[in-house]
Amino acid sequence: MFGSGVLKGMAETARNFLGSYVDKDRLTTVQYPEEHAPRIEASRNFPFLVYDGPDPMAGLRCVSCFICEKECPPKCIIIEKSTDKKPDAVGKPQAYPVKFNIDVSVCMSCQICVEVCPFDAIKMDVDFEQTATSRFDALLRTKQQLAKSNEYYHQIHPTEAAAVDAELAAARAKAAAPKPAPAVAAAKPATPAPTSAAMASPVATAPPTAAPPAPPTALSSRPEAACRSGETRSATTEASPTPDAPAPPAKETASE
């Protein structure tokens, strides 16, 4: 009969409409923003920097090895290395980033920085509700904005964070056993060399042994937007001794 196909389809629509009241599989949407869909543990959007301990800037795990900067496909990470050293997550004296910026308007959330970082210093965040009122500086996240605690990391990716912590604890135990390196290292600061990177950044001239200064306000970090330009960035890269050399993974570092 002509029209029976149409009627059959209508019956299907009715079944779906009525079914949506009783069957959860037929109504999968939620009323955002009042309701949120359950968060999926593996989900990711933008990277953040993990720190241990109470002080975000002193506890950053990042040793500014430039690997992520080099591997990031759209090149949206901009790092400036310190000239002095401080103990890293496993207690070995390491440089730290004076400047660590991620341009989130360029970042494509690919997670490659997380994959290549040998120090478990950079991880993916899940915070997707972000706004900015201007196009450039507001979307250039500084290390003060990027630093999030290890507890936060545990909160958003519990399984992954637990595995990372176990690994780091093992590395720390290994490092502590043969020689108490951290204390010696902290007492013997490296001489700050007047490289172009150091001159470009006032933070680099801070006393080496002390923790980096308290997080500056958003305003004082604004000039960093200038490093979007090519010259400043290449200067930064040249200032680092061997940005191309593969940094040793955390475990090897610890055993030295």
């Binding site: 079944r15 999968t28 999926i40 591997e71 496909p73 997670q111 290549v116 993916m124």
Partner: protein, 385 residues
């Protein structure tokens, strides 16, 4: 009349007909909801009939191939997600396949199974949404598309819990996959796949025997098998014209020789056949998925010998191709031994499938152009790259 020649369109002699009438040149797109992205068709109409059609693209050109020559091999992987953004996992696979044959990397057993499972899930969600969009183009406003998206959502949730992202998965790596299946993922996937045939039944009930749909699609946009083979068309479009060519059977890349599935073929090569082919292919994909999820072994999910960083394949060239949901997706790479490919070329199915658009649309109504384009299944991210 001299006043007529002042009109710039009428001034084109080719638009004047012998009987005194006029042809009309219409620019459909680039910002048109029926063109599936920023795509333009320059259509010359005689009344409602198409006498000439010129596809114009390039509005979404992102320089993918040239950028890839400056990226490391791994660095191009997330960019491949953005080609056909509906099927990022199959794009990853085609690229990984090319690099693996370039560098001679073996893929472990479990990774092969994971690849098949994720690729077939991709096919399910691509075809489901394509059919939804096709119905939308035909005026079945919203309902079938929303049903399709509801099912697609469940598959995207699976992708998110596996890869971290719903669409830009960036999941495959040279020699395997980025992460192993999380605990409970397989059970969840089995549930989704087991429920899928029920959705397909409903979807068929909804529209397959609908008289209006049949009137709109049967006999529309026919391409003869000979033309379609000569034009290099692949994928469901080719099979709808009755040519039995599926790379999963022809190349047996990965481990596709281990699964029993059939390749559905069309008879007429019209829009209705293309629509049915997609429904039938989804049923076959469900079969592959069931077998793969039953047989998946334990073991490593990636080749431990392959380095992520400082990856330099030896000089040479390679072409890797797979049966993506839209057709043959190939990556052609030349390595000169440096960390960046010397040449990187994509063979996108969407672009090549578009080349016969004019032949399909000639002497059809302008309204048919919309559904013919819908049945080709294009994603502009892949057409323009």
């Amino acid at each position: 009349m001299s006043t007529l020649t002042l009109d710039p369109i009428a001034a084109k002699a080719s638009l004047l007909k012998k009987d005194g009438g006029q042809l009309l040149e219409v620019s459909m797109g680039p910002q048109h909801p029926s063109t599936h992205g920023v795509f333009r068709m320059d259509v010359v109409l005689d009344g409602e009939n198409v006498v000439k059609l010129k596809p114009i693209f390039g509005y979404l050109h992102r320089n993918h191939e040239k950028i890839a020559e400056d990226e490391t091999y791994l660095g191009s992987m997330p960019y491949t997600d953005r080609l056909d953004y509906f099927c990022s996992i199959t794009n990853n696979w085609a690229y990984a396949l090319a690099v693996e044959s370039l560098a001679g990397i073996e893929v472990p057993e479990r990774a092969q199974y994971i690849r098949v499972i994720t690729a077939e899930l991709t096919r399910l969600q691509n075809h489901a949404s394509l059919v939804g969009f096709l119905m939308q183009d035909m005026g079945a406003s919203g309902t079938p598309l929303m049903y399709a998206f509801r099912e697609r959502e469940k598959i995207l949730d699976l992708f998110e819990s596996l890869t971290g992202a719903r669409m830009m998965c960036n999941y495959m790596r040279f020699g395997g996959c980025r992460v192993d299946l999380p605990t409970g993922w397989l059970d969840q996937a089995k549930k989704v796949v087991a429920a899928f045939p029920k959705f397909l039944d409903e979807f068929e009930n909804l529209l397959v025997s609908n008289e209006i749909l049949m009137a709109r699609t049967q006999g529309v946009g026919i391409i003869p098998a000979e033309l379609i083979v000569n034009a290099g068309i692949t994928g469901p479009l080719l099979r709808a014209s009755g040519v039995n060519y599926d790379l999963r059977k022809v190349d047996k890349y990965g481990i596709y020789d281990r699964f029993t599935f059939r390749v559905p073929l069309g008879d007429h090569g019209d829009v209705y056949d293309r629509y049915m082919i997609r429904i039938l292919e989804m049923r076959e994909s469900v079969k592959i998925l069931e077998q793969a999820m039953r047989d998946i072994p334990e073991g490593p999910f990636t080749d431990p010998k392959t380095k992520v960083r400082n990856f330099r394949p030896k000089p040479g060239e390679a072409y890797g191709r797979i049966e993506a949901p839209k057709g043959e997706l190939g990556f052609y790479l030349i390595s000169d031994g440096s960390p960046n490919p010397y040449r990187y070329r994509v063979r996108p199915p969407s672009l090549i499938n578009l080349t016969v658009l004019e032949e399909m649309c000639l002497n059809r109504n302008i309204a048919d152009v919309v559904i013919i384009l819908g049945s080709v299944d294009i994603v502009m991210g892949e057409v323009d790259r």
